[in-house]
């Protein structure tokens, strides 16, 4: 028995050499069936660590470009009450509804990547150190649907109208899928708590303003190979929102208990 213990110790100490890993490169194109990735970041104007999370998201956006769509959800503990210096309320009823649906993450910033619980995780939320890996993992999949999104902004009536077309790239059987369309605004200048205090000139990006379809989305008909479904909508923009910076995000997803997003597209 003693010999076994000593053998184990020697094996343990000798097993120090290993083949090193390599850093990944962005070469995971899946051709005509490219799947884009949605990251929904939970943030708040009173979260001092959130600006670093936003910087991490911008770094990821630079790497993945159009294949990564970001929605920043202002809501929960770090969104209310706002700082004294805030001019706007960036949180909204849909943000609160999402928190009620998915729960509030343990710490901010946290994000859902394609609303998926990844292997080894017990929560749908993950911290900034996980995002890059989850995005690569999701991006390497083949898409089950392709999406086109058209947007038309009327500066006179301050209306945004749009059409989303969902095309099946494979037969998805009887599983129910939903289409959610959200309206987001970029480059809002308003106060944000940072590690060095309140920054009144902070630029908030990818701020989710409203879910046009509601947060549960609009139920789609069965998705089959080459099937086409379209959804049209028109919405009047709040007077405080900057129409120029408004953009649309549309994504197809499952609903309870598994909310996984299978495709996403954005249009400015």
């Amino acid at each position: 028995m003693k010999i076994l213990f000593f053998t184990y110790t020697i094996l343990f100490l000798c097993s120090c050499t290993e083949v090193p890993p390599i850093l990944p490169t962005d070469n995971n194109s899946t051709g005509s069936k490219e799947k884009n990735v949605l990251i929904e970041e939970y943030t708040g104007v009173r979260c001092q660590n959130c600006p670093s999370g936003a910087q991490q998201l911008e770094a990821l956006k630079q790497i993945h470009g159009d294949r990564l769509t970001i929605l920043s959800i202002h809501g929960g503990f770090f969104a209310q009450p706002t700082n004294r210096e805030n001019k706007y309320n960036l949180d909204n009823a849909d943000g609160v509804a999402l928190i009620n649906l998915f729960n509030q993450p343990v710490g901010y910033p946290s994000a859902m990547v394609d609303r998926k619980i990844f292997d080894g995780q017990s929560s749908i939320f993950s911290g900034a150190n996980n995002w890059a890996g989850y995005i690569i993992s999701e991006k390497s999949k083949e898409a089950a649907v392709s999406m086109d999104l058209l947007i038309n902004k009327n500066t006179t009536t301050r209306q945004v109208s749009g059409q989303c077309i969902v095309k099946g790239l494979t037969d998805l059987g009887n599983q129910s899928y939903y289409l959610s369309v959200a309206l987001a605004e970029n480059n809002i200048k308003d106060a944000q708590l940072t590690l060095t205090g309140v920054d009144t000139n902070y630029i908030h990006r990818h701020v989710m303003r409203k879910f046009i379809t509601g947060i549960n989305g609009k139920k789609l008909d069965s998705i089959t190979l080459n099937s086409n479904q379209s959804y049209s909508f028109t919405i009047t923009i709040d007077p405080l929102w900057n129409l120029e910076q408004i953009y649309l995000v549309a994504f197809v997803h499952k609903n309870a208990p598994d909310y996984e997003v299978i495709q996403v597209v954005e249009k400015n």
């Binding site: 290993e18 001092q48 790497i63 729960n103 509030q104 292997d119 996980n130």
Partner: protein
């Protein structure tokens, strides 16, 4: 894993006093009925918004027979905010099971195992329920008693995560000994040595690589799958002196530095949680002298880059493999424990000392000092504490005074927060009214110009032994003019204890053993039960 493929054959000749074996069970229930109160911040969580009820229960059951011990624990989390203070966790099932056998030479344990090496610096698997922490190792442990004084143990497994496990593999081996020159010698020592290896699972390492690839070239590195931590420790007893020394080292490891400096595209530095790759160490020592009514304890510790977790992405209290001893006094009173320092795994240099002596037969005095800096000698925490107590037949009086400095920027991540300086006075008296009735009164005041300002805490506790305790208490914040009051009734019968009360509790950071957790504000009714069968 040659060791673990070995089959054990145990002799069954041990006698058991109870031929049917022994069964024990222990039930703990903590429940809360949440009532919104925006005045103290008891809002914006699912429990206040729509669930209204939340709690958690644990039922531990253990059966011993034939020289074996079998245990199972059922965990129930129902709208619980223990795992996520701002959220709600709903899951129930088997939280732990184990089979254990120990004889004079060999022993084993399989299932969910709690254990530690030395003080736990390189490895500690333990449960702290009030902190929502349970990092048992799901695996196998083998013990070998080489002789009466030398013991070897080896273990391998995966760390528990609520009802799941992390995928990284943890292995370890430790040798503990005891040396004494002779039975009459006043000198003895208990040396030990331990090694722990963690192999990161592929998914976690791939994920870390993807994150590292987003960093500027200057911040990029190639992490290793395997990290080794080793420790050498020794407890030396010489007459009235006890000396404990431990030095722990960790090989290059990828882990999260929450306050690292990173470069943006323009070359500007900014502070952000960043994965870094460093080796680390902890040096820890304590000396203790006790003679009749005199006691002196001195402890010192230096920590550098000793974050050792199951996977590098884990933060806060998640995935901890190591436990670094805290260097502040564990206070139990409301205001004396108001600001407590969390152990800093990235860098900390700390010292604490405590002197205990008696002025008279029933008068005890304690003097304490805690001194914690970061490795750049920036002040993190100071505590100067003096306590005097007097015990007589019908009353016990305790008075204490504390001065404390607390770096809120570091411990609570509050930007630009000034160093919090507090002065606390504490008076506690227990008066025996007759053979069974007693009254305890506690008064504390905390004076500070920083953070939330001044506080007063008052508590009155009337007990009728051995069954009843009635408690009324209030914490009052002078700056915000807010009361946090509690009325509680506790009933005990044999090993069973039930408490029910109205609780209005402030939000704050609660620390136990240097491990801290954000405790949300509570307003409502609490019901707790502890029952032993």
């Amino acid at each position: 894993m040659i060791l673990f493929s070995y089959s054990f054959v145990f002799s069954q000749e041990e006698s058991n006093s109870n031929p049917n074996g022994t069964f024990n069970a222990f039930l703990t229930t903590q429940t809360g009925f949440f009532i919104r109160d925006s005045n103290i911040g008891a809002i914006h969580t699912p429990q206040y918004d729509h669930q209204l009820y939340g709690g958690q229960s644990w039922l531990d059951a253990m059966y011993s027979n034939w020289g074996f011990e079998f245990g199972v624990r059922l965990d129930y989390f129902q709208n619980s905010n223990l795992i996520n203070p701002l959220g709600s966790f709903n899951k129930q099932g088997i939280g732990r099971w184990f089979i254990r056998k120990e004889d004079t030479k060999f022993g084993f344990e399989a299932g969910y195992i709690y254990d530690q090496i030395g003080t736990g610096i390189i490895y500690r698997a333990y449960e702290a329920r009030t902190q929502g922490l349970d990092n048992a190792l799901q695996g196998v442990k083998l013990n070998l008693n080489i002789n009466q004084n030398w013991h070897l143990k080896a273990f391998a497994g995966k760390q528990k995560k609520q009802f799941d496990v992390y995928e990284s593999l943890i292995k370890g081996i430790a040798l503990d000994g005891f040396v004494k020159a002779s039975d009459t010698s006043h000198f003895s020592m208990a040396p030990g040595l331990g090694i722990v290896n963690r192999t990161i699972d592929d998914a976690s390492l791939d994920n870390a690589l993807a994150t590292i690839a987003t960093y500027p070239k200057a911040n990029q590195f190639l992490p290793r799958y395997n990290t080794y931590a080793c420790t050498l420790y020794d407890q030396i007893n010489a007459g009235n002196f006890t000396l404990y020394l431990e030095s722990a080292f960790k090989s290059n490891d990828v882990f999260n530095d929450p306050n690292a400096l990173r470069q943006d595209d323009q070359g500007n530095l900014y502070q952000a949680p960043t994965l870094i790759h460093k080796s680390g160490h902890v040096l820890y020592g304590s000396i203790n002298y006790v003679k009749s009514s005199f006691g002196l304890t001195l402890e010192a510790k230096r920590t550098q880059y000793f974050s050792f977790r199951t996977r590098p992405q884990e933060e806060a209290n998640n995935g901890l493999i190591s436990f670094i001893p805290p260097m502040s006094r564990q206070q139990s009173y409301n205001l004396l424990s108001f600001y407590q320092p969390a152990t800093q795994e990235i860098g900390e240099s700390a010292f604490k000392g405590e002197l205990q002596f008696n002025l008279g037969e029933n008068e005890e005095t304690i003097l304490h000092i805690s001194h914690i800096n970061d490795l750049n000698q920036n002040k993190l925490y100071r505590e100067y504490y003096a306590e005097g107590s007097s015990r007589k037949k019908n009353r016990t009086i305790l008075a204490s005074v504390q001065y404390r400095e607390y770096n809120q920027q570091v411990y609570e991540g509050k930007p630009n927060a000034p160093l919090v300086k507090t002065f606390v006075l504490n008076l506690d008296g227990t008066f025996k009214l007759n053979e069974v009735r007693a009254l305890r009164v506690n008064l504390e005041t905390m004076t500070t110009k920083q953070d939330q300002g001044n506080w007063i805490s008052i508590l009155a506790e009337y007990s009728i032994a051995p069954k009843w305790i009635f408690t009324l208490s209030d914490m009052y914040n002078g700056t915000k003019k807010k009361n946090y009051n509690t009325a509680m009734v506790t009933y005990s019968h044999l090993s069973n204890r039930v408490s029910l009360g109205w609780v209005r509790q402030r939000a704050g950071i609660v620390c136990t053993g240097g491990i801290c957790r954000y405790e949300p504000a509570f307003n409502g009714i609490k019901f707790n039960l502890e029952a032993r069968f």
